[in-house]
Symmetry: none
Subunit: 229 residues, 2 copies
Amino acid sequence: MIPYVLVVEDEDALSALLQYNLDKEGYRVTIAGDGEEALVMIDEQMPDLIVLDWMLPKVSGVEVCRRLRARSETRNLPIIMLTARGEESDRIRGLDTGADDYVVKPFSMSELAARIRAVLRRIRPGLAEDRLHHGDIIVDRVAHRVRRADKEIHLGPTEFRLLDYLMQHPGRVFSREQLLDAVWGSDVYVEARTVDVHIGRLRKALNQHVDNDPIRTVRSAGYSLDASA
Amino acid sequence: MIPYVLVVEDEDALSALLQYNLDKEGYRVTIAGDGEEALVMIDEQMPDLIVLDWMLPKVSGVEVCRRLRARSETRNLPIIMLTARGEESDRIRGLDTGADDYVVKPFSMSELAARIRAVLRRIRPGLAEDRLHHGDIIVDRVAHRVRRADKEIHLGPTEFRLLDYLMQHPGRVFSREQLLDAVWGSDVYVEARTVDVHIGRLRKALNQHVDNDPIRTVRSAGYSLDASA
DNA sequence: TAAAACTGTCACATAACTGTCGCATAGCGA
DNA sequence: TCGCTATGCGACAGTTATGTGACAGTTTTA
């Protein structure tokens, strides 16, 4: 699955550059222009990693960082800080606040990309690994196969991506909109109810040999992969 | 082709010695000082073999090993562990984790070099082997012959290379683009659909005497050699 | 040098998958 | 319990991806 990076940066020139290059590196990228916006987007879209400018309007980078660390859902969200030279003494405070790494401006794209790779690997090995297990479900991303209780399960491409995404965050509830963003892509327009249909198809496929349904419907909130099991 | 060896070792004296001696043995050598650095370098430089100290700062040797084995790109990367005497009981765990061989410190350079040669010869399946087997298919890369179920199969050059490539990674799904890169070469421009046609021809040739198709189509993803069978 | 073998593309047939509707149910607050 | 809202899901028509025979241009073989 494609890692999803949120860039929080108020200088448009830089954020556009970052978007362009990270996209080319194979990441899905969104931009937030200030800390407040960032906090909202993080909640809604659950990125895999955040590139966070130290200085930001409204809510500073440090503050964003601190708040994310204070909440359990975002405690392990990888964060890379961007700091300007001269704020160097602050770096340490940055890491204290809970950033996973920092890059000093001006930086090269390849340097940032390398840090991102390293941090993703270190913090969230699940992203890079090519097999996801949960209960009796196995998703093999390289072979593009799904098994449940040792039976081969055939899924269409969309159902496959949907399951893959849910398996990355077991137990977490996703709204239909979040799932559309993550699985269909933020650019296409599709009815939210379509998610229901695909969830239904996924359920049917997964439960054909087994009695218990691993997908939990959370009324008026969305769906999640059942954390138990 | 000079084999490229990455040495992961935190004691500078030892790593320098290794670099010197392995270089003299005819290997290209790079050093990583801890596990984290190693993981980055492996990704970026794709060495042919890794000499990995058991005890490392940040990310231990075992952990590095485990993570490499969890990702398909590095699953077959040969690894030789360096363990200190007294960690001997751990040795077994080392091999379980996926190391291909281990050497107990203190060791002689010639011993290490011999292990490296042996492992390179033994492990590199596609590169060194002159025959690939999978199910009832045999590809003889030296004689340039293919047999299935004991019948000689005639393939054109492109079909041969295509099958050869698929047989190096059974089960793994390759996109049309990946196959074009690997089989046709990254510089030529050929329609992606051309892959379909060659897959079709390959299928026809392979299945002429046998009923079951060893090539799996994964809709919207690509093709793979069926890992079962 | 002619015949045979091989390639890459196309066009068309078919199979697989998608998104939406609409109606049936289930859940929930009053 | 009633009424409203949210979800489940079969059906369907439109779309997209794949399989494959034909063909013309090239390369290899005899």
